[in-house]
Amino acid sequence: MTYDKNSKKIVDIIQNFARKHSLWILAYGTGCGAIEVPPTMTSRYDGERFGLRGAATPRQADVLLITGYLATKTLKRVIRTYEQMQSPKYVIGFGSCTINGGMYWDSYNTIKALDRYLPVDVYINGCMPRPESVISGFIKLQQLISEGKANGAEKYQKNLEWYRENQKKVIHNWKMPDYNW
């Protein structure tokens, strides 16, 4: 390993290496793509080979999978969940719906372009993406992490106002039942 002072510190390299090999996925089935997550994580495709693992609460999770469409009602919860996650944190958009609305392009209840509301690091093509695609998505995310490019969380911090403005256009009322997680 060459140590280049100008580019990255060796600590960063180790950190990024650990980060990319230990991606804990928040157990939150936000959309129908969640059906391909169990096959990815179970014996046939075994996502654990890549250090993927489920995390029960947002505090412990690194990756938020937006598995397809987001109803506005869910978007509100997802934003809150995302903000509860500890950075560095990553968002993966599953399938068509997160990119341009997918088959719900004319629905009155789902958002169309996820990157307006949350910073997305990787999009996976498909409806639904099959496990191989999902794994490819994670490999891409790992690659971005080791290159230091998966900085969605920083982007969100920096452009928080822009994101908030977009979020408020869709979510009219921020009042939420008091979830104590």
Binding site: R44, R49, S96, T98, N100, G102, Y123, I124, P131, E132
Partner: protein
Amino acid sequence: MAFDIKGVLAPFSALKQGTKPPHTVRYPKEKKETAARYRGLHFNDLEECIGCGTCATICQNAAIDMIHVDGFETNSGDSGLRPRVDNGRCCWCALCVDVCPTGSLNLTKDYVYVSEDPDSFLWMPGVDNPEGKENLSFQSAEGKPLLEYERIPMHELEGTERVKSFAEVLLGYNEEEARKEAARCVGCSICTDICPVHMHIPEYINAIANGDDEAAVKIIYDNNPLGETCGKVCTRRCETVCAIGHRGEPIAIRWLKGYATSTVNNADLIEKIVNPEILPPNGHSVGIIGAGPSGLTAAYYLSLRGFNVTIYESKSHAGGMIMYGIPKYRLPLDSIDKQVEYMEKMGVKIKYNTKVGKDITLEEMKQHHEAILIGIGFEVPYELGLVGENEEGSIQAVNFLRNINSDRHVEIGDKVVVIGGGNVAIDAARVSRRLGADVTILYRRRVEDMPADWEEIEGAEDEGVHIHPQAIPLEIILDENKKVKALKYANAEMIPDPEGGRPRPKIIEGDEHIIEVTSVIGAIGQSADYNFIPEDIKNQIEIKRGRIIVNEDQQTNVPWLFASGDIANRRADAISAIADGYRAVKGIEKFILKSENK
């Protein structure tokens, strides 16, 4: 509660699974081959695709856009557009594949695409994955086509039945059949480009499919006042490019037009339905020579635009070649009368039995009218150039048909040979059959080279007409009364043209035959009679190969003189004549209004 020792120990037997090798597919190290039908990313064969946009129409996600791709230009049979799939919309249901009329759009086995850029999910099948052709999986050819490739059959008289009378051969669609046939259309509109008139084909077909025949009639009359005629005798080039025609039988566009227009059975009804907007008279006057399709079309639209239009027709009925050239079993005469009656209601004035050059000169006309349109058509037949051609028993097809349509008796005997391979030849042959003769057609080239419609050829064969291709007439043999007795002809072989043109027939030396005939009907083409045009004008306009050269407004080199129909285009069919007439309207309007503004 008893202690369930078995229930406690049984689960531990699961541990023996640990000794088995895992069944994990170690992606990406090892890849599982996707199924032969897997629905992955799209691939489009750009050459096969015609850009009909049916895929975009059926896509319930509005995921497919039609995009202009360099190298593919809009022309007849191809819109020049190619589909682009928004993978941010697509759900890979493959409806677009099953509906693709050409079968160019298919899905491949590739499915992995991962990106951090949400704008990179626009997928141009075939352009983005040219290698996809080797990787096809879900293909439309495999299943049953989603579209209907089989035409609703048209009822027609049996061949043996037909020759007994001049009754119309095609019985036409009934309502149910028409709706069914119209429902096959995918509404791509590629046909409109090749149609000389550019009729609004997908719209009127869909109107028929929706059960709105009156709307269909209104749409047809928008740029074709002879819709009913076209519905029966059009050469329907539209059907040659029909998207459905790539893998099935094209939509019966002509018959549907015929169905829609025949639902209105008198001129009053047409007026009520079409109800066109008529501009108030603008004080300008236009003269038209010849009440053929182009003249009638021009007259109709000019009068709708407020012009004072007079047609000078040498015969007693309007219609020109469609009146006198097309036999009744194809186009009943009352159908033309009905359409002409409607046009006269709309303000078109027709002076019958007025031959320009004889009853009135062109100069006289010019004094009454600001612009003149010549639509005289080709009425003078070419001569066969054979010995004995002008004797009894040798007839020209045009004259023959005109006489028949004028209810004059023509004696042809019981053994007729028709020379030529065009529609006129076939018409003459089929009419001769109806007169009871045994008919043979002699044609220089092969059957597939015949310029006549295949349907006409088939119809003729059904009716018992013998077609003798690759036969070149040499001589008409006369009997002692100078009456046609027999025809001498030679068989020919096709030799390829060294310059790359179509093969030419060459007489096989010595292979000569003689058939006995009672009549010989020549149908090898016609030309126009320009004698009514004064010399000074004739010198100014340019006539090439018997046709007057015009610009895109049908204007000749003499600004006030316009020409349309067979004398101005090479296609020599009714629909091109109508298109000429329609263009001439615009040209004349432009000419007159321009000179007015000056």
